[in-house]
């Protein structure tokens, strides 16, 4: 049943760094571009489903850490899920987990991982409530493998 949904996957200007972000799927590799590829900041606009634009908060969302998406393949190792960004709203504190786009700055992602692995107690409680397992320092090899590939990591 159709509701108020309309396609809003259009180019936008990052509220944090001010860069113009192209939203074409061919460029980003994702259907709903939801964060800036340079600074990785996002905006709190989705409420129920990705791309619904139903949230009235609209504040900036800061990348606070990385996690792994649960793998669809039940025979695969636990660590083989897709690498995901955890965003936290600066206004209401809501968390959302978003796919990393093809053109996201990998050094920035690593930086988020390093800063994010020192999360505070408050954030830890929210992670537990939402059943999110963030990656910590011990997962550095896994993150590098996901970002740069297996061969580049072994060098």
């Amino acid at each position: 049943m159709r509701t108020y949904f309309e396609n809003k996957n259009v180019d936008f200007t990052c509220k944090h760094c001010g860069r113009i972000v192209p939203a074409q799927t061919a460029e980003s590799g994702v259907v709903n571009r939801n964060h800036c590829p340079t600074c990785l900041h996002s905006r709190h606009v989705d409420l129920f489903t990705p791309g619904d634009w139903l949230c009235a908060c609209k504040a900036i969302m800061v990348p606070v850490g990385l996690t792994l998406k649960r793998c669809r393949d039940k025979y695969a190792a636990e660590c083989q899920g897709e690498l995901m960004l955890i965003h936290r709203c600066m206004n209401c504190g809501a968390l959302s987990i978003n796919r990393i786009a093809a053109d996201d700055d990998t050094s920035q992602i690593l930086n988020v991982f390093k800063v994010g692995s020192k999360w505070n107690t408050q954030l830890e409680i929210i992670y537990q409530q939402m059943r999110i397992i963030p990656l910590d320092k011990s997962d550095i090899h896994l993150v590098e493998t996901q970002l740069y590939g297996r061969t580049s990591c072994c060098r």
Binding site: R2, Y4, E6, L47, A56, C57, K58
Partner: protein, 332 residues
């Protein structure tokens, strides 16, 4: 053939209009009438010297109509049983929309759907064609703008019974009931609901509005058996209505009052409503207007300290309605 006219002007109500022809009710009689040239002359807006503006006026005049359904008019009788409308008496209220543009690049103009109304009835189908809630909000905003109460009717509820759409429908219905809009869920097969609808219409002049194929004419036939209004099934390939009703007509109800059947509308543009007015046309937003950090200047979009955004986040206003508000404002 020369016809004789009487000087005595009679007052009647316009019940039906097709291109250039108006059926006027007075007492128990129905008189087919035409418009007097005087009425047209009075109706014409003054011409501007600008060429573009002149062209715009010509197009506008060709499509505009000084008489609307429900109008009380003063007319004279001709000897052959026909009549001539001379004046339109002052309207108690009316319902208007921005017309569909008559040609590419043309300007929209005011199209008065009906006048002297007691309520507006937006009609939507539960399925075939599927409901567009944003269009419903457009109807409701228009009704609020003209200070007319609304009664929402959802037809064809039998088509979604037991399906996933039924739950979605009930959520949407609950959303409007929470705001205070009465909603009637019906299907032409259910007599009990038809009785309830009849009660809601008794003694009032109401106008049915909705897309083609939602069941406006079927509802009319169910409410007043014997009307014999022409109906057709929706197109099975496109899932859209076939635009069976092509003219506006008011029908007298046995329980008193009148019900105006309209042709299905593809788009419904707001007329006269400015972006600033829209928040006032959302009843649930009214108590919070002016309470924002930037007071009456707040656009309720990105501004910090916006009271309306805050109540949406608190769950007092539906996020769907808030998004519809933003979209409507952007469309103007």
């Amino acid at each position: 053939m020369q016809t004789q006219t009487t000087d005595a002007k009679i007052i009647g109500v316009v019940y039906k209009k097709t291109l250039g022809h108006y059926d006027v009710h007075h007492g128990d009689k129905i008189t087919p009438c035409a418009l007097s040239s005087k009425l047209w002359k009075d109706f014409k807006p003054s011409k501007d010297s600008g060429k573009t503006h002149e062209h715009r006026q010509n197009v506008t005049e060709k499509h505009m109509d000084p008489v609307a359904i429900g109008d009380r008019v003063r007319f004279t009788l001709a000897g052959d049983g026909s009549g001539m409308i001379w004046n339109v008496l002052p309207r108690r209220n009316y319902l208007a929309r921005a017309s569909a543009k008559p040609m590419p690049g043309a300007h929209a103009f005011e199209q008065i759907i009906a006048a002297n109304l007691d309520q507006v009835i937006p009609v939507f189908a539960a399925a075939d064609p599927e409901p567009k809630w944003h269009l419903l909000d457009r109807y409701l905003v228009t009704a609020e703008y003209y200070n007319l109460p609304s009664l929402i009717i959802i037809t064809k509820t039998d088509l979604v019974r037991g399906s996933r759409s039924e739950k979605e429908l009930s959520t949407a219905v609950q959303r409007y009931r929470t705001i205070g809009y009465p909603v009637i869920l019906t299907s032409a097969l259910e007599n009990k609901v038809i009785f309830a609808t009849r009660e809601a219409l008794a003694g009032r002049t109401s106008v049915l509005m909705g897309k083609s194929g939602v069941g406006k004419s079927t509802l009319l036939n169910a409410l007043e058996p014997g009307l014999g209004v022409r109906v057709q099934a929706v197109n099975q390939t496109t899932g859209k209505g076939r635009h069976t009703t092509t003219h506006l007509e008011m029908f007298q109800l046995a329980s008193g009052g009148g019900l105006i059947g309209t042709p299905g509308v593809r788009e419904f543009g707001l007329w006269e409503v400015s972006p600033k007015d829209i928040a006032y046309c959302y009843p649930e937003m009214q108590p919070y207007i002016g309470q924002c950090k930037f007071g009456m200047s707040c656009q309720h979009n990105d501004e910090p300290g916006c009271a309306i955004r805050q109540v949406v986040m608190d769950g007092k206003i539906s996020p769907y309605r808030y998004q519809s508000y933003l979209r409507l404002k952007a469309d103007l």
